[in-house]
């Protein structure tokens, strides 16, 4: 009791729904680190917190929205981006952050992702990529490495994964970066940068899912972190076509794309001005 009372305030308490802690995330899960990086970045970016909204889809990462005191919307599976699109277009003053997982954003929600990037809707999308569907017990995702074992690929995954930064870039995202939860400083800085950019920003965060993925692929949380430390190379400005994830030969991290083009609302306003 005594100890709890004297415990110092958590620096993110003002952004956390502390009455909802403990969270659901497993020990060794990487989502919490990605989530706190995201909240630190939201604070550091100097945004009006009352006007900052977090939207999530479904899955372990999708639970993020439920733990922040920001206005937060926990939507349906894969639909965070179109929901966020409606919100941003209806009130352009809002800063809208989408925080969700790879299964949610790139399998069931893949179509929405590419179209929001193409339109250049002013959103910041943070994708926790843990290589599988964690919430449902570790099934193969559109990001699962070839030959990796999951409950739906018990003998090894016959499919190749997406290269998410390339997909985002090809679809039209104006800010694209990839980090891991070990690189919290870079990650936080990158999300902060993404938040201040106008347009569709995408940050991929590699994170371990020891319960769903690690267990079946002989990878303890610490092993994942070792991979993040030993097999990564930071190459800002790298060609997104050359950053395919290869956990054996090396993982390229960095900011790959940072450019400007008119957002959907810029273009829509221009179109509307033709009515005068």
């Amino acid at each position: 009791m005594e100890k709890t009372r004297t415990r110092s305030e958590h620096p993110l308490n003002d952004l956390l729904r502390t009455d909802r802690i403990p969270h659901i995330w497993c020990p060794g899960c990487g989502i919490g680190t990605a989530f706190s990086s995201c909240l630190v970045a939201v604070k550091a970016a100097g945004l009006d917190l009352r006007k900052t909204v977090m939207v999530s889809g479904i899955g372990c990462s999708g639970r993020g929205a439920g733990y922040t005191k920001l206005d937060s919307y926990h939507t349906t599976h894969g639909r965070a981006i179109p929901f966020a699109t409606g919100m941003k277009l209806a009130n352009p003053e809002l800063n809208v952050v989408v925080f969700s997982g790879d299964g949610d954003l790139f399998a069931i929600g893949g179509n929405h992702f590419i179209h929001a990037a193409r339109r250049n809707v002013d959103l910041t999308v943070v994708c926790v990529n843990n290589l599988n569907y964690g919430m449902t017990g570790g099934q193969a995702a559109a990001t699962t490495p070839s030959m990796a074992k999951t409950t739906t690929t018990p003998l090894g995954n016959p499919e190749p994964p997406f290269n998410l930064p390339l997909l985002a870039f090809a679809a039209g995202a104006t800010y694209v970066a990839r980090w891991t939860i070990l690189h919290t400083r870079d990650l936080t800085k990158s999300i902060e940068e993404a938040l201040t950019r106008r347009g569709f920003s995408f940050v991929e965060v590699l994170a371990p899912c020891p319960t769903g993925y690690g267990r079946r692929n002989r990878e303890k949380p610490l092993d994942s972190l070792k991979i993040y430390q030993e097999r990564t190379i930071t190459r800002n400005g790298a060609n997104p076509a050359e950053v395919t994830l290869d956990f054996h030969r090396g993982i390229t991290l960095g900011k790959f794309v940072d450019l400007e083009r008119p957002t959907f609302l810029d273009a829509y306003e221009k179109v509307c001005s033709l009515t005068q």
Binding site: R17, V55, D71, Y73, T85, G86, M87, T275
Partner: protein, 386 residues
């Protein structure tokens, strides 16, 4: 800038009248996807919204359109989408989210014959049960069925008013014939149109519970950026909006979601009676079929058959009491609808076996002619007397 309410007399299609009704109701966000025979609603909104500081967006599919509509409404803007059968199926997923998160919005279904791609350019009323139960789980929904372009104008306003008052998606179930029919539509002065807006929270923002019902069972609604620190989820949640995974919270939530409709039936249920006072046979119909039914009643009366019509404007929740009452007064009920018996099942249920209940319906693709109905009534009368 053009005015939002185009006061005056117009000769326009049902689809255009629906879009004008939405604008007159204050709708300033439309997300949609092209689909026959609802496309003209999207097209009209696309050309009109820029003139009234609204936003139109054509999404990648109807799933996204419905998601965007919910996002926009949660940002405080009256929002709508319009579709037809195949798109209506895709909308079902996020319709459930709208119901669970109590998000006001309007969804229009210009029905065509199904199943599947069916008859894209020909009308039907085959999605009526989908309107009631199409999204998973148990819930209440409000569904209106307009029968003319003029009604599409007014009922779209009513749909927005009800969606705001009771905080839920309201469905407008029209059909290809009404949507594509051009008729005279009178649009009143803006001042003559009554508009409702969602109940607004009062009191301290930090103590606000976003799903705590007010006196009429409806919770005041906070919007994104309003300073409430909202959490809104499609998971089963308590009055704070927090997910709670247990049967008690599930029961309480469903009680809130269904109670706000069941408790306000008096204001929600809209029906119209025609020559029912001394009727032996009562037709029960809605939408385009109620127009055929209306003509059939007059024709039948001329042939000496005492027929009358109960026209359902609100189809869901179903006007159970009204049908029960009617089944105690008349000798026979006849449901008229363009399907093989959907609302008919409800009429049967509510008549509780007291009297015969017949169906005049077909598989879709054309309207039901008044003659078909009258012929059926003549046959019925013979068998009733036999």
């Amino acid at each position: 800038m053009k005015p939002a309410v185009l006061t005056g007399e117009h000769f326009i299609t049902g689809d255009v009248a629906c879009a004008e009704g939405a604008l007159a109701a204050g709708c300033r966000f439309f997300a949609g996807y092209p689909i026959t025979p609802a496309t003209e609603i999207a097209e009209h909104m696309a050309s009109r919204l820029p003139h009234v500081c609204g936003t139109f967006i054509q999404m990648e599919d109807e799933i996204a359109a419905m998601a965007a509509v919910l996002g926009a409404s949660n940002a405080g803007v009256k929002s709508m989408t319009a579709t037809s059968g195949p798109g209506f199926s895709l909308i079902m997923e996020n319709l459930g989210l709208g119901i669970c998160t109590e998000t006001p919005c309007v969804v229009v279904n210009v029905q065509r014959a199904g199943p599947s791609t069916g008859l894209p350019t020909l009308g039907a009323q085959g999605d009526m049960m989908q309107a009631r139960w199409g999204s998973h789980g148990h819930y209440e929904i409000i569904t209106l069925a307009p029968s003319s372009p003029q009604e599409l104008f007014y009922q779209t306003i009513t749909a927005f008013n009800m969606s705001e008052t009771y905080r839920l998606p309201v469905l407008i179930m029209t059909d290809e014939v009404t949507g594509h029919l051009s008729e005279r539509v009178v649009i009143p002065e803006p001042g003559a149109i009554q508009l409702q807006t969602r109940p607004v929270p009062k009191g301290r923002k930090d103590r606000f519970k976003p799903f705590q019902p007010g006196p009429n069972g409806v919770a005041p609604m906070g919007i994104a950026g309003g300073g409430y620190g909202l959490h809104v989820t499609g998971l089963t949640h308590d009055e704070r909006g927090y997910p709670c995974m247990n049967p008690e919270t599930q029961a309480e939530m469903l009680d809130r979601l269904t109670g706000k409709i069941r408790r306000n039936l008096k204001d929600i249920l809209l029906t119209e009676s025609y020559r029912l006072d001394d009727a032996d046979i009562a037709l029960v119909s809605y939408g385009v079929s109620s127009r055929s039914s209306l003509a059939a009643v007059d024709e039948a009366r001329q042939a000496g058959i005492k027929a009358g019509l109960l026209r359902l404007i609100t189809v869901w929740p179903f006007p159970e009491e009204r049908i029960r009452e009617l089944s105690r007064k008349v000798k026979c009920l006849v449901t008229v609808e363009i399907n093989l018996g959907q609302i008919h099942l409800e009429v049967q249920r509510c008549s509780e076996g007291r009297i015969p209940v017949c169906l005049v319906g077909h598989a879709g693709g054309t309207v039901i002619s008044p003659d078909t109905i009258v012929d059926r009534l003549k046959g019925l009368l013979q068998s009733l007397h036999a």
